[in-house]
Symmetry: C2
Subunit: 353 residues, 2 copies
């Protein structure tokens, strides 16, 4: 995982593989695979739009952007735009370009995020900042972000522009808030939820809501789609943060402990801290506030989390949002897309086990 990131990361990477049940038997195509299959034609058009619109006479721009764009991310956010549009019966084409906008904004935040975190790996490949330097990553992020707004202007909906410009502000606020809470042991659950609600969930919410805008949905439809995305995004990020301390994650060859190493106050830490005695508090202070970490500290952190049931409690909290997400789409007409979206919500939780 990459911690500060507005959320590609562990849960998303896993969604590429077929789900494995807790009994260890494969359960067939994952919920993500099924959802992607339902929007495959539209997604091909989105991918074509992304490739087309990330071009520039300045060769380094498509090179650098293409590195990330082609790196096998699951494009969960634009998939949500397409899926929500299908859910409510939209039959036009406007959502293609807007789904590409959502991915451009996400890609821009990933580029900046990897600079902010000084990350060297993303999705198993060297990061753009590692290959081309921080300078180019910052500037190409700015380019993609601007290009997203150009695409929205071409579409011409001020509602969409309002939703995505507000989302972009809030994402940046969430990232800055996370910066200021890093290493701050006084960070509480409410602040943590503010951080992930802003840095991650708001773009999920916007990706879903704009489908309601292009389909000319009424206020209730738009609000439900937005709530669905917001709840899904929060659950997604909580699970992502749990996976950063997950032993199973480690057995799958994924990185564990990045958040720990960076001093991030994620929900598992907050829960472990809430029940900590004085020596435990001193341990967390040394590791996360002072960033004075030694061999065996991560194992000790995992052990303290075990003692305070921190990971299962965080998963329980994620389940609250999963319930909200299910409730938000319940009133929509039953059908394969509603089922697929419902499954993707449950899938977020499955990933945490």
């Amino acid at each position: 995982m990459r911690g500060l990131s507005p959320a590609a990361s562990a849960a998303e990477k896993h969604s590429a593989t077929a789900a494995t049940r807790q009994d260890g038997k494969p359960s067939g195509p994952s919920a993500m695979d099924r959802l992607q299959a339902l929007v495959a034609d539209d997604m091909a058009a989105v991918n074509a739009c992304i490739l087309d619109r990330m071009q520039s006479p300045v060769a380094l721009i498509p090179q650098l952007a293409g590195h990330l764009v082609s790196s096998g991310g699951k494009r969960l956010r634009p998939v949500l735009t397409l899926a929500c549009a299908q859910l409510i019966g939209f039959e036009g084409r406007r959502h293609i370009k807007l789904a590409a906008c959502v991915e451009f904004i996400h890609t821009a935040t990933l580029l900046h995020d990897d600079v902010v975190d000084a990350s060297t790996l993303r999705r198993g490949r060297e990061t753009a900042n590692e290959i081309w330097g921080n300078q180019a990553s910052v500037l190409v992020g700015d380019f993609l972000f601007s290009r997203a707004f150009e695409l929205m202007v071409e579409d011409g909906s001020l509602d969409v522009l309002r939703i995505l410009s507000a989302a972009s502000s809030v994402i940046a606020e969430g990232e800055v808030l996370q910066l200021t809470t890093t290493g701050d042991l006084a960070t509480d659950e409410a602040t943590y939820l503010d951080v992930i609600g802003a840095k991650t969930a708001v773009l999920f919410a916007a990706a879903c809501e704009i489908a309601g805008v292009v389909a000319d949905g009424d206020d209730d439809t738009r609000a439900r789609l937005r709530s669905f995305g917001q709840a899904l995004g929060i659950a997604f990020q909580i699970v992502d943060d749990v996976l950063d301390y997950s032993a199973r994650q480690a057995t799958l060859g994924k990185t564990v402990g990045d958040d720990f190493q960076e001093g991030k106050l994620t929900l598992p830490v907050i829960y472990a801290l809430a029940g900590a005695d004085a020596p435990e508090k001193a341990f967390w202070k040394r590791c996360l506030e002072d960033l004075d970490q030694r061999d065996g500290d991560l194992e000790q952190a995992l052990s303290l989390m075990g003692r305070h049931d921190a990971l299962p409690r965080a998963m329980d909290r994620a389940r609250d949002y999963v319930r909200d997400a299910h409730a938000a789409i319940a009133p929509f007409a039953d059908g394969p897309m509603k089922q697929a979206l419902s499954d993707i919500v449950d899938f977020v939780i499955e990933r945490g086990h």
Copy 2:
């Protein structure tokens, strides 16, 4: 100067002081002072809007943004929006918010630019990245950029959104192009003009053109305002790049040689290189391509520029754009604002002597 910067820098810093004629006698309030006086009321409203809209519940955001916003920049770009609106007789208030947008976009690019250049000083003060770190500067830049788009959406003009989103893309392209030409001795004048046309002039052009949009100007009016801003911006940046090698600049206690140190291929270097013999070429290669610089190299660079008349030739090139800028506003009705804008064009050149 800060080289990669989208253009605050030397020329702008100087504009704060009263002009000094070549004979050494002060010539009264500078053209910049006179222009600012003509838009003072509107500018007070713009400043209030900037302060109001850079707020956020995340305290670090207004702290960091305020550091740059209050650092005594001359706000040349929003001044141009206000001045052009006045020039064509606009009497509404919409341009206030849009002038603030322009300044937000400029401030965002400065924050990112100082990260890209690893700058430690801007306008004589520590840079935000030096005080709060690169991470916060990147993210607060993203916030201001997003906030600019939120303000444009509130205004509601898709034309303005089109102009400023396109300008933002082009600025990023220009900055990336400059990155790729840094240290590349094959960079020619046309490429240099592409870089500064994009990284600097496009925002000047957009700042002027949007005044034409809010005032409901016809196509010709908009095109003239845009051409005026574009030509002024190019002249401004050429002079800025000359000042980075200017001895007079050094006697004024300003930094000289930043571009040299960073290996930037600015117009004075391009002109010095065009006439260089083999040992001179080897010198430029060592200094700018290999970045192997020693004591006395900057003096040697200045001496080679003197030998090839590089600085006066660059100033002549700036004068071509000054003529274009004058021509662009010539058809507008005479009056104090047209005079002030005309004077500001000449002032750009005066700064270079």
